[in-house]
């Protein structure tokens, strides 16, 4: 192990991560030149949070028993939180990498040992999560001083560091295994492996969101306090169990779990190095070479839907890029989280889902509908910017702006409409409204989706961000915010009459549906015009 290489590589990884978000060409300056802001933030966060929680905490909570309970809960949870935080950050970072992915290929032919890489990656992750951990540790210090548990705080903090090592090591193992799995899939399954990787990534993000939602967290803390001592079979809880035992003055058990935690940290770290050594596969240069095939011309489904040959080609290209580009994952994951959360709650049988009024049951599934609307909106919003510098290929082709606009809209609307169809089926099965209400909901939802997609497309064309490096954003911030605000206002205006009917019955269903459709019609015509003019302007600008 060459520590000099490991530390230098860690600084390279940190610099790359900071600059991919901040810097843009030229000479790096300010924080991008020497990113030590996180270290300053961490150094300030710990004492500031400690002083604040020491001075304000007891006053805010009033009851000293409550302060004691909070302090105990926090001290026990912190090692697990540190572990989760490092794991979550590492995994999200892995999925957020786009242009950086290529540069990591360089390491494959440099004499950097797996242990050096794992250590560098761990240092880099620690750097990024350090302010958050410092904040938590600071708050727990303040409360611990109030309750006279300074010793337990020291144990908890030490074990939080062990938790960070365990979290990062687990993420390194996952990264190496995912790399091997995707390289193997790549060779065997060709292009479908790309879609599989994307779906796997989205599932992972959704799973993490599910694990870290507030309900789960509250239950976790309760569970920790109640049963942590019984959870000897779960190694990732050993650090927390050591703290719990030390708080109960059970020294033998505390020492045992402390030693076990350290051993676990070393073991997982060793496994991470081994995984990097054994499983890591450098980028394959020719993953799959097939036999020469003759292109067959056939009338596609898109042509049958009324799109001309050129539009169909553009839609196919966009749908392919949607399933194959890693950067698109986040645009699918956000709506997917919204979409799946209510399903999980529905499965868990939480109140409001199985019983209550029609309005409350519908409201509990509303995030699913929002997920479908967001999907249409987001995809159309980024549909122009995601072309990047390759947009030159589109404007260099014999395509009319109108054809580009129609194709981009369709490529966003089609996947979102499938998501909406699923939502409507879930509503039909779970809420069981009358067929008239179901029909009205379906029509209004469909038109709201059309409007959202149109608005997204209009703003996407007006505010595209074709920058590829640093970090592709696809749409300018102003465009994203304005678009979101407009789409939300339009959706609210369209849904309001039907909502009034369902919640209060003060308006007839026919009138409510009519008003909703009228509002939608106004939005549709305005957004359609804005989209066409936006694309025409973009076309003019790029060809000028």
């Amino acid at each position: 192990m060459n520590f000099k290489i490991a530390f230098h590589l860690a600084s390279v990884l940190c610099l790359s991560s900071v600059r991919v978000r901040r810097a843009r060409g030229g000479k790096p300056s300010g924080l991008a030149k020497k990113p030590i802001a996180n270290l300053y933030a961490s150094a300030i966060a710990l004492p500031a949070a400690a002083v604040l929680s020491y001075l304000v905490g007891p006053g805010m909570m009033g009851d000293s028993l409550l302060v004691k309970t909070m302090s105990v809960q926090l001290l026990i949870v912190i090692p697990f939180l540190a572990l989760s935080l490092s794991l979550l950050y590492s995994l999200l970072f892995e999925f957020s990498e786009s242009s950086q992915a290529a540069s990591t290929d360089l390491l494959n032919w440099l004499p950097v040992a797996p242990a050096e890489y794992v250590l560098a990656s761990a240092i880099c992750t620690s750097y990024f999560i350090s302010p958050m951990v410092s904040l938590l540790v600071g708050v727990s210090l303040g409360l611990a001083l109030c309750t006279g548990s300074a010793m337990a705080w020291a144990v908890s903090t030490g074990l939080a560091l062990v938790g960070i090592v365990i979290g990062i090591s687990i993420s390194e193992i996952a990264r190496a295994l995912l790399n091997r799995a995707s390289a193997t899939l790549y060779k065997r399954a060709g292009r479908s492996a790309l879609a599989a990787r994307l779906i796997l990534g989205v599932i992972m993000i959704v799973a993490l969101a599910a694990i870290f939602n507030v309900n789960f967290f509250v239950r976790l803390v309760e569970w920790f306090v109640g049963r942590v001592i019984d959870a000897w079979f779960a190694p990732i809880l050993w650090p927390s169990m050591a703290v719990a035992a030390s708080l109960q003055a059970n020294l033998d058990q505390a020492l045992a779990y402390f030693a076990l935690s350290l051993l676990l940290g070393l073991l997982v770290l060793g496994l991470a190095v081994l995984a990097r050594k054994v499983c890591w596969v450098p980028v394959t240069i020719a993953p799959k070479l097939g036999a020469l095939t003759t292109q067959k011309t056939r009338r596609s489904l898109l042509r049958r839907l009324g799109f001309d040959r050129v539009e169909a080609a553009l839609i196919r290209k966009d749908l392919r890029s949607l399933t194959r580009r890693r950067e698109m994952m986040v645009w699918i994951a956000i709506p997917a989280v919204l979409f799946i959360m209510p399903l999980l709650n529905l499965g868990a049988g939480l109140p409001g889902y199985a019983s209550g009024s029609l309005a409350s049951r519908l409201a509990s599934l509303a995030p699913m509908g929002l997920g479908a609307l967001f999907l249409g909106f987001y995809l159309s919003l980024v549909s122009y910017g995601q072309e990047g510098e390759a947009f030159i290929n589109i404007i260099g082709s014999p395509l009319e702006p109108r054809q580009i606009a129609r194709a981009k809209l369709a490529a966003s609307f089609l996947p979102a409409s499938m998501a909406l169809a699923i939502v409507l089926v879930v509503v039909c099965v779970a809420v069981r409204p009358s067929w008239e209400v179901m029909l009205a909901i379906s029509i209004v939802a469909l038109f709201t989706l059309i409007d959202s997609s149109l608005i997204g497309s209009a703003f996407g064309a007006r505010y595209p961000d074709f920058t590829e490096v640093p970090r592709a954003r696809f749409v300018m911030r102003a465009g994203a915010y304005l678009g979101m605000f407009t789409a939300a206002a339009a959706a609210a205006a369209t849904a309001l009459p039907l909502y009034i009917h369902i919640s209060s019955g003060s308006m007839s269903l026919a009138l409510a549906t009519g008003l909703s459709l009228f509002a939608s019609g106004v939005v549709t015509s305005g957004a359609y015009g804005a989209m066409l003019s936006g694309v025409a302007d973009l076309y003019d600008k790029e060809t000028r």
């Binding site: 290489i5 991919v20 810097a23 540069s103 070479l289």
Partner: protein
């Protein structure tokens, strides 16, 4: 002369396609060895196997007597590699990137500073070294990749299309440098599609097609083998790879 690189019965398959078929190569020390072949002929796979980046399905590879499979780290230490398209830390400055590479190869501070300065000056990158690489042109990135491969004075250079994007002066520097280094015993494996470069620079050339070795020898020997003594290397190459019916293809395409 002693062997720098030896490939014995090396094969590599991707799915149904045989990328490299039972390849035997013996490359002597201090040679500039050209690997020529059409796209997809197995050149890059061969180079990556030499570097230990791709594992052969069968056969063995050694670099300066080191078994690539058993001790890939040692092979990396004595090798400099320039891939077909430069792979760099785009968000570092040129100087930071080279500083990192030099540290990885264990150069002491004096040597590091001196060599980086020399190379930056030779490749006319002085004054731009503190800008981030992502703002560089393709040629400048290629220069940084080449400097990165040369910094630690490797015994073996593996260069995949190294002159792509370089201005004429830099290309000339690289060519002359390779000849000088060869004189000092540095071995170079060079892949290029520009056959004039191969003709001018390479001591020996191996023509690969569909993963198989078609011919090997000095450019002059290849002309002899193909019975085209007065032809250019391009014509010899086209004949050896069975792609000499270019005229017919052009006729068909133009119609």
């Amino acid at each position: 002369m002693e062997e720098a690189v030896a490939l014995s019965s090396v094969s590599k398959r991707y799915g149904q396609t045989l990328a490299v078929a039972n390849l035997d190569l013996r490359i002597e020390r201090g040679l500039i060895y050209g690997l020529l072949g059409p796209n997809g002929s197995g050149k890059s796979t061969t180079m990556r196997m030499v570097l230990g980046l791709t594992r052969p399905d069968s056969g063995s590879i050694s670099v300066y007597g080191v078994d690539v499979r058993r001790n890939p780290m040692e092979v990396k230490r004595i090798t400099g590699y320039v891939p077909e398209s430069p792979r760099l830390y785009e968000f570092l400055t040129g100087m930071e990137h080279l500083d990192f590479i030099a540290d990885v190869f264990g150069l002491d501070d004096d040597t590091k500073g001196r060599r980086i300065s020399e190379f930056l000056k030779a490749f006319e990158l002085q004054g731009r070294e503190n800008e981030m690489i992502e703002g560089y042109s393709h040629g400048m990135k290629q220069k940084i990749a080449i400097i990165g491969a040369l910094l630690h004075a490797p015994k073996l250079l593996v260069l995949d299309e190294p002159l792509g994007g370089l201005d004429p002066k830099s290309a000339r520097i690289v060519k002359d440098l390779l000849s000088k280094l060869a004189g000092k015993g540095v071995t170079t494996i060079l892949s290029t599609h520009v056959l004039e470069i191969a003709d001018a620079v390479c001591d020996r050339v191996c023509v690969i097609n569909k993963g198989e070795k078609m011919a090997e020898g000095s450019p002059a020997e290849l002309r002899e083998i193909s019975r085209m003594p007065d032809s250019t290397l391009e014509e010899v190459f086209l004949k050896l790879t069975g792609s000499d019916d270019v005229r017919k293809v052009v006729e068909a395409l133009s119609n």
